[in-house]
Amino acid sequence: MPKNVSQPVVRAQDLLVGYGGAPVCAPVTFTLNLGKAVALVGANGSGKSTVLRAVIGLLDPSGGKLSVLGAEVDERDVAFRTAVASVLDDDAYFPALTVAEHLYLTARGHGMLGADELVSRLLEEFGLVEHARSLPVALSSGQRRRLLLAAGFARPRSLLVLDEPEQRLDRAMRDRLAQRLVDEKEAGGAVLLATHDPDLVLAVADRAVHVADDVTRVLPPGEAATLISRENP
């Protein structure tokens, strides 16, 4: 467990994010502690993914304050990369590596000793056993998405950042993912996700942040789920 569990994993105070100095949404304020999950909700293009990119260090904030695991964000720091796992919508794979080998690369690259058992478990959990020896080119977009998600769980982490993890997943896999994220919280990890899925918010999130142009608000999960359903009837 981390040395200091009382300190928030993510602390965003009036965080402004954007491109070329122009913010894409209103300032965002929230904290995320270990064992908790925060969902970013909002319309398409509202800035949810941009906030996530700032949290994982792929974008410098335009203003406000942001700290991750008690220090300022710097993905060049090995400790940061060890602690923060992210699953974005990167659809890029080594063409000559099989599904299983991609997971081995992640697990062994992070120094996991039980990599064989771990990879087998993840293949089973994410419905990829039959495709373990397949090259990425032979996978459907949903299977590639599951591979990305599995890789997020093949490594150590304190914070798991997911950008619309429900995309390209069927209902059963969405439910399984929700349970996986609940387990993640119970194991002591923190989860920050951007989503359009009200069921995922209800099942996983302890709080939601509604990201918008004018003002961002912290909402209880129920209210956020209702808002999503209203925005995406």
Binding site: M1, P2, Y19, G20, A22, L34, G57, L58, D60, P61, G63, G64, K65, L66, S67, L69, G70, A71, E72, V73, E75, R76, D77, V78, R81, T82, A83, A85, S86, D90, A92, Y93, F94, A96, L97, E101, H102, L105, T106, A107, R108, G109, H110, G111, M112, L113, G114, A115, L118, R121, L135, A151, A154, R155, P156, R157, S158, A187, G189, A190
Partner: protein
């Protein structure tokens, strides 16, 4: 970064899916990835040696041919005139200007391509690992300086051997100097990248250097100032420069881990797209990769297209906005306009053939910078269907902005040609008459379909190529070559006649008609299709 430094990061992960051991080093990660790739790609030692053999042989033949051509060029060049021409430029000065321009291109490319990057799978699967990134990035960091050194050495050696020197020792020394300078420039760009300097800033410096080169040459010519020889380093100096390059390489290596992932991803993405475009001979895609991929993330002021008074003017205004916002293309047009001015200012190059070549090549370079609106419409055909205009009308309207830009280019270029022959007015008339041909070529090349690489292969001097690829790539250049025949004749004869101007006007009309056509097939393909259709009708009538 506006966040407070609030302390040390908690470095023990809260969740671990298995017992944690030692993290492997970067080399092991690279080896694991490469071994799997080699095993599945069938890359045996024999195949590797065979590839290296063919690469070396091809390179050697290519360099040999180029050196031979350079030597023939030097022999063909007339001697330097005994009396110095007023407002002329010496050949060594022109070579220095070209080298500065090449340095600008190199810096611009280094900025656009990173120079250090991690594309696609490497960015997604390697950069998140807790290993020393220097080991992961080292091969990528070496690639561009080495390529720049090789290309710089060959190009500058060819310039020296072709235009100035017949002493092998001098050419070798120039090549070594160029290689070291090219490597140093790319390594400096890498240092800037590791210090967080935006890639777009580095690219802009290169663009400005490229733009400054011909301007400086014109200023030098007007001021009647020339250098007598190209400055080179003595061997001792080259050794010193090599030490500097080595020190820069060490500095870059030490700072590789400081390059932000954002920058690595952006560079890698541009490089991947650019290499893909180059391999598939798609110059439009290459331009998009190098322009869009390296653009600074800035929001533009919304253009309200106030001059638009209808569908036609809206289309033209939109094309104008696209051109105005692309600094690289505007610089490209300006630089290209100065090339004929320079060539006609250097007595040894100002032969009819040299001037014709400079007009055609510089015109093509300028023309290719003017069709951005059409290129984007080719990529997203819906753009052409947004307005209530027929497709042929759209194509004709898309020639307006290229035509206006090329008119300005023509006035400068043909004025220089006129000054070279001694009478400007007729040449300006010919330049104006030829402008629609350039506009037609810009639109025709912008709308050309993507090459079909799945066709049956035919043997060509460049290796086996699918049939039809050549004709697709020729769409655009064909209009330039054929539509400007009166210009060819006029320059080779060093005279303009009213008849030539009239024929040029007729050629322009034909070129515009050809470029307005929305048929994608080649002339041969269309003739074959027509013939097949007639055969079919005849068979049906007989039945």
């Amino acid at each position: 970064m506006t966040s407070d430094p609030v302390g040390e990061r908690q470095d023990v992960p809260a969740v671990s899916p298995a017992e944690e051991g030692e993290v492997p080093d970067a080399r092991a990660i690279r080896r694991f990835t490469a071994q799997a790739g080699n095993a599945r790609g069938g890359a045996s030692l024999g195949a590797l040696l065979s590839d290296v053999y063919y690469a070396v042989i091809t390179l050697a033949i290519g360099i040999g041919l180029a050196l031979g051509a350079a030597q023939a060029l030097r022999v063909a060049l007339p001697d330097e005139p005994a009396v110095h021409a007023p407002r002329g430029l010496s050949l060594p000065t022109l070579v220095v200007v070209l080298v500065v321009g090449l340095a600008g291109i190199l810096v611009s490319l280094a900025g656009r391509l990173g120079p250090v990057g991690a594309g696609g799978a490497e960015a997604s699967w390697w950069l998140s690992l807790p290993v020393d990134r220097r080991g992961l990035l080292r091969p990528a960091a070496r690639r561009l300086p080495v390529v720049a050194a090789l290309v710089g050495a060959v190009l500058v050696a060819l310039l020296d051997a072709g235009l100035l020197s017949d002493a092998a020792g001098h050419v070798a020394r120039v090549a070594v100097t160029a290689a070291l300078a090219a490597a140093a420039l790319v390594l400096l760009a890498a240092v800037l990248q590791s210090r967080g300097v935006r890639r777009s800033t580095t690219a802009l410096v290169g663009d400005l250097l490229l733009a400054a080169a011909p301007v400086a040459a014109v200023v030098l010519a007007l001021g009647d100032w020339s250098v007598r020889s190209v400055p080179t380093l003595p061997w001792v100096g080259a050794a010193g420069a090599a030490l500097v390059v080595a020190a820069l390489a060490v500095l870059v290596d030490r700072r590789l881990g400081r390059i932000p992932e954002r920058s690595l991803r952006e560079s890698g993405s541009v490089a991947t797209q650019a290499v893909g475009a180059a391999v598939s001979l798609d110059s439009r895609e290459l331009g998009r990769a190098l322009t869009d991929g390296a653009a600074a993330p800035a929001r533009r002021r919304t253009s309200r297209l106030r001059t638009a008074r209808g569908a036609a003017s809206a289309l033209v205004t939109a094309d104008l906005v696209v051109l105005r916002r692309s600094v690289r293309h505007v610089v490209q047009i300006l630089v290209a306009a100065l090339v004929p001015v320079l060539v006609t200012s250097v007595p040894q190059l100002a032969s009819p053939f040299g001037v014709l070549l400079s007009v055609l090549v510089a015109g093509y370079v300028a023309m290719s910078a003017t069709g951005e609106g059409a290129r984007r419409a080719q990529m997203a055909p819906v753009l052409d269907r947004l307005l209530p205009l027929g497709l042929k009308s759209v194509r004709r309207l898309r020639m307006v902005v290229p035509g206006a830009a090329m008119l300005l280019w023509s006035l400068v270029a043909f004025a220089a040609v006129g000054r070279w022959t001694g009478g400007v007015a007729g040449w300006l008339a010919l330049g104006v008459a030829s402008t629609p041909v350039w506009a037609a070529a810009a639109v025709r090349s912008s709308y050309r379909p993507a090459p079909d690489w799945s066709g049956p292969l035919v043997s060509t001097p460049m290796g086996a190529l699918p049939t039809g690829v050549g004709s697709v790539l020729a769409r655009g250049p064909d209009v330039v070559v054929l539509g400007l025949l009166p210009v060819w004749v006029a320059i080779l004869l060093r005279t303009v006649t009213p008849t030539l101007v009239t024929v040029q006007v007729l050629c322009a009309v034909v070129a515009v008609a050809v470029a307005s056509s929305t048929a994608t097939g080649t002339l041969l393909e269309r003739m074959t299709a027509t013939q097949e259709e007639l055969e079919k009708q005849r068979r049906e009538a007989t039945r």
